[in-house]
């Protein structure tokens, strides 16, 4: 019934023209598609979970979810946005905010350039306002293709600004997290972005504005330990890996092998950390319902 909504007809319009000029190939989606390496023609993809070889077009039409096992492929921030929001409703904010190699960290500049080229984004998060079923909200989406969505000064600042603008505009906030955590290359400055974003969310809460946190694969470290965990409503995509410490580090430091299924969305829900697990194909209608029930018309004494 929702199939038409998810059929990608057109990308949303992006206001900022800079990125398109700088990296013309950037608007192609799915830079993180592992399978393209094996099947270079891009016509077919192999599902990393069930091993099924799938027709790329069918996957595209299914929100990049495996049609056999429902494995959720990682998708770029812009592709996610296109699946999610009303056409032409997105207004991007702070695209011009860019990173400085403030600590002159070894190899950081090269990493940033590589990340920009790979993702076609200026930094690891896309922010702005948009609409779902005509309901306005503020959105932030981490970009896995940009240093695994890690949070440095720019990511922290863009998220904080988006939240502050949501307060000014009296709009709810939805943040899609995909992140390895705080970005090592900006040292203590990255660490304090956790405090910055959490503080901004504190203000949002004081203004009785809704914050929905959607966790996608993977969400770890400093992002789990800040904005990603502070949602009024906590949602995750199925099977996404979510945790504080990565499984490899747990194994290394604690010599503890995690049980099968640990740190999945389902594990997190079972332990009380997540409200809802929502398939990507259902994300838009579920968010629409939740956003609608927090609109003014839904308050006591009135009807929607």
């Amino acid at each position: 019934m929702f199939k038409d909504i998810f059929r990608k007809t057109k990308y949303v319009t992006i206001k900022s023209g800079q990125m398109q000029n700088r990296t013309p190939s950037s608007m192609q989606e799915e830079p993180a598609n592992i399978s393209k390496k094996e099947l270079p023609d891009g016509l077919w993809v192999k599902c990393p979970k069930c091993g099924e070889v799938l027709f790329n077009k069918n996957i595209e039409e299914n929100a990049r979810v495996c049609t056999t096992c429902e494995h959720h492929f990682r998708i770029s921030a812009r592709a996610r946005l296109a699946l999610l929001v009303d056409e032409n409703s997105f207004e991007e904010w702070d695209a011009e905010l860019t990173t400085l190699d403030s600590l002159a960290f070894p190899g950081y500049e090269e990493k940033l350039i590589e990340a920009q080229e790979k993702s076609g984004m200026t930094e690891g998060v896309l922010t702005g306002r948009a609409k779902i079923e005509d309901i306005p909200f503020v959105v932030a989406i981490n970009e896995a293709g940009f240093m695994m969505g890690s949070m440095g000064s720019v990511v922290g600042e863009k998220i904080a600004r988006a939240i502050e603008r949501a307060i000014d505009l009296k709009l709810p906030v939805v943040i899609f997290s995909t992140s390895g955590g705080a970005r090592m290359q900006e040292g203590i400055l990255s660490l304090y972005q956790m405090a910055k974003t959490s503080a901004a969310l504190g203000r949002l809460a004081e203004n009785n504005l809704l914050y929905i946190s959607v966790l996608t694969d993977p969400t770890f470290g400093g992002v789990t330990a800040s904005y990603a965990s502070l949602g009024d409503i906590m949602i995750s995509e199925p099977n996404a890996l979510i945790g504080f410490t990565g499984p490899r580090v747990i194994k290394q430091t604690m010599r503890q092998e995690l049980p099968t299924g640990a740190q999945t969305a389902e594990f997190n829900q079972e332990h009380g950390s997540i409200d809802l697990i929502v398939a990507r194909t259902q994300m838009r209608p579920v968010l629409a319902r939740l956003l609608r029930y927090h609109q003014e018309g839904a308050l006591y004494g009135s009807t929607i």
């Binding site: 090592m184 400093g222 965990s229």
Partner: protein, 332 residues
């Protein structure tokens, strides 16, 4: 005898020579005072030279020294009274975080501190100073009370990082830390955070959202442990020394970056060489800031803390200057 680091060995050798000379002089009744004086002068200079320009990795070693004073060493010297309060009311009492009500310069304050053990047995009890979610939830519980009763909050940071085991994951380590950040950023009472040893990543930051951040001069505060950073960067944990320099995490670095507000002096060679002196310095500096913060109104305290957090970060607002290399390159 305190644990000695490689870089301290020349000093120890010289001091050993001096004491042997003194012993020889006494035994044989020969006056060697001039020779001793020369060597002592040399020792003083050597100490000044070595301790005066410690490298980041050497500071890490001092901050992690097995005899470095922990919170329980400082507490009786800093406070006229300390009543420890335990438990998160949900799961357990975490012994890597101590909290309670203390009397500091005659003022009732709420204290939250991370505590590492001094030996293996105590370290096991305190999980090597790595708090679990229940530790952070206890901290929020006690800090909320401070807010309720208008008590200033003093936090003391000393942890290699938050606990990273299955239990921590099951009980929501990320959420527990995030709630600390959210809670601390909103208080209307003065909050002073002090790094007394190791400031390990998010686990340390959970107690670091203050109006003021103080650091003992040989402490460090980092987004990632130097060993882990080396392992990611160079696939080699033995390069921790290089990572320590790259991460810019010493107290002096943080002061320069505007994250730390003031450094607290330590005795030559580190706090373990003179606990009382360190406690005195700590007490004076904390007291100075507490007096200052108590003169501010609750709303101003809260607003200034928010603005302080908002200002941390380095970036630029224009997309066209960042990557000179990239931008001068013609687009294909």
């Amino acid at each position: 005898m305190a644990q000695l680091f490689e870089f301290e060995k020349p000093i120890a050798e010289l001091e050993h020579k001096i004491s042997e000379l003194q012993k020889f002089s006494a035994d044989k009744d020969i006056d060697l005072s001039q020779e001793v004086a020369t060597l002592e002068k040399k020792a003083t200079l050597l100490k000044k030279e070595i301790y005066g320009k410690l490298e980041p990795w050497q500071k890490v070693q001092i901050a992690r020294h097995s005899e470095r004073p922990n919170f329980y060493d400082y507490a009786p010297l800093l406070f006229e009274d300390f009543i420890e309060l335990k438990g998160d009311r949900l799961f357990a009492d975490d012994r890597s975080i101590s909290g309670g009500i203390a009397l500091f310069h005659g003022i009732a304050v709420t204290v939250i501190a991370q505590v590492k053990g001094k030996d293996t047995k105590e370290n096991i009890k305190r999980n090597f100073g790595m708090p679990h979610p229940e530790g952070y939830r206890k901290a929020v519980r006690l800090m909320d009370q401070a807010e309720k009763f208008g008590r200033p909050i003093l936090t003391f940071i000393d942890t290699p990082g938050a606990a990273c085991d299955l239990g921590a994951e099951e009980r929501g380590q990320g959420e527990a830390i995030a709630r600390c950040l959210l809670a601390m950023s909103g208080y209307r009472v003065p909050v002073i955070s002090t790094v007394i040893g190791e400031g390990g990543s998010g686990g340390a930051l959970a107690l670091g959202v203050g109006n003021v951040l103080l650091m003992l001069e040989n402490s460090f505060y980092s987004v990632i442990a130097p060993e882990s950073c080396a392992s990611i960067l160079w696939k080699d944990t033995t390069k921790a020394k290089e990572a320590a320099a790259a991460l810019k995490f010493t107290a002096q670095d943080l002061l320069r970056l505007g994250v730390a507000d003031e450094l607290v002096r330590e005795p030559q060679g580190g706090a373990h060489n003179n606990l009382h002196q360190t406690a005195d310095e700590l007490s004076q500096v904390i007291s100075k800031y507490l007096v200052r913060l108590r003169s501010e109104s609750p709303e101003v305290l809260r607003e200034k803390r928010y603005q302080k957090l908002r200002a941390i970060g380095v970036f630029q607002e224009t997309a066209d200057k960042i990557y000179q290399k990239d931008l001068t390159k013609p687009l294909d």
